[in-house]
Symmetry: C2
Subunit: 139 residues, 2 copies
Amino acid sequence: MNKKYYETIFQIIRTGHWITDQVSKELKEFGITEPQFNVLRILRGAKGKPISVSDVLERMVQRNSNITRIVDKLLIKGFAERKECPTNRRKMDLTITEAGLKKLKELDERVEAFHQPFIGKLSPSELETLKKLIIKLKS
Amino acid sequence: MNKKYYETIFQIIRTGHWITDQVSKELKEFGITEPQFNVLRILRGAKGKPISVSDVLERMVQRNSNITRIVDKLLIKGFAERKECPTNRRKMDLTITEAGLKKLKELDERVEAFHQPFIGKLSPSELETLKKLIIKLKS
DNA sequence: AATATACATTTGTACATACAATAGATGTTT
DNA sequence: AAACATCTATTGTATGTACAAATGTATATT
């Protein structure tokens, strides 16, 4: 009973974790953890505009991360900048640096290379169906 | 380009992590972590027969776990037993205890209750399609 | 203005995780 | 049988994570 549901859920969980695990391994070579990679991409996504710690948090896949410490690591590597927000001194203005953008480009290439073998496995309409079904499942 | 692929992958990742995060929170109330829960279920799955650390590892969703330390925690709680394997002293015979089985039943109920609202969201044929598409994607 | 409440981030700390190094047992080769 | 390689599990250690408490700032209430 409900066997089919659990089998399907199991596939989703296993696939999701497997992908992030594999990507983590690719990133490790660059001395970057997956949360650091995600924060970098979020900073880039802000397109030059500084964003706050809580903004980053909102956009994170894993919401429980400690952004301060992740950003600490990015600062050390020179990939991000952190300044007090001038209009609200409680907040921090976080931005990605040129070095961060450059590194991110490298990382993206590596991640893309990882995905390459899978991209052709499903047709566009199959991908669409898959996406829609997952969204429906969560709705 | 390949936007649809990445959107779909993103849904899989996010959903997979979201489910395990939610389940972790449910388990936390019982003082059990998700890896511990998984190991317990694997031990139960052995149906009374003792299995080794490497057997457990093979069946884990997250393969990088340190089984020794997870089992340590289960021993402390009295949910598992660990003996030297008599036929191969390199190996350990791991089993679930009565207390472990009882606790696991409670945990299962809680996890089921979490899934309940989602079970009806997709029809059996939709679930089947979803499962098949994910498997095909990884193939 | 003083006090309280809410907000944004950081820090302390206990715990978990990753991975390499180690230890001990078994299997294989000569 | 001795030497070497392989298998299995544990441990050391550095790093990451979770979550509560603390810090500092802004806003609301009296």
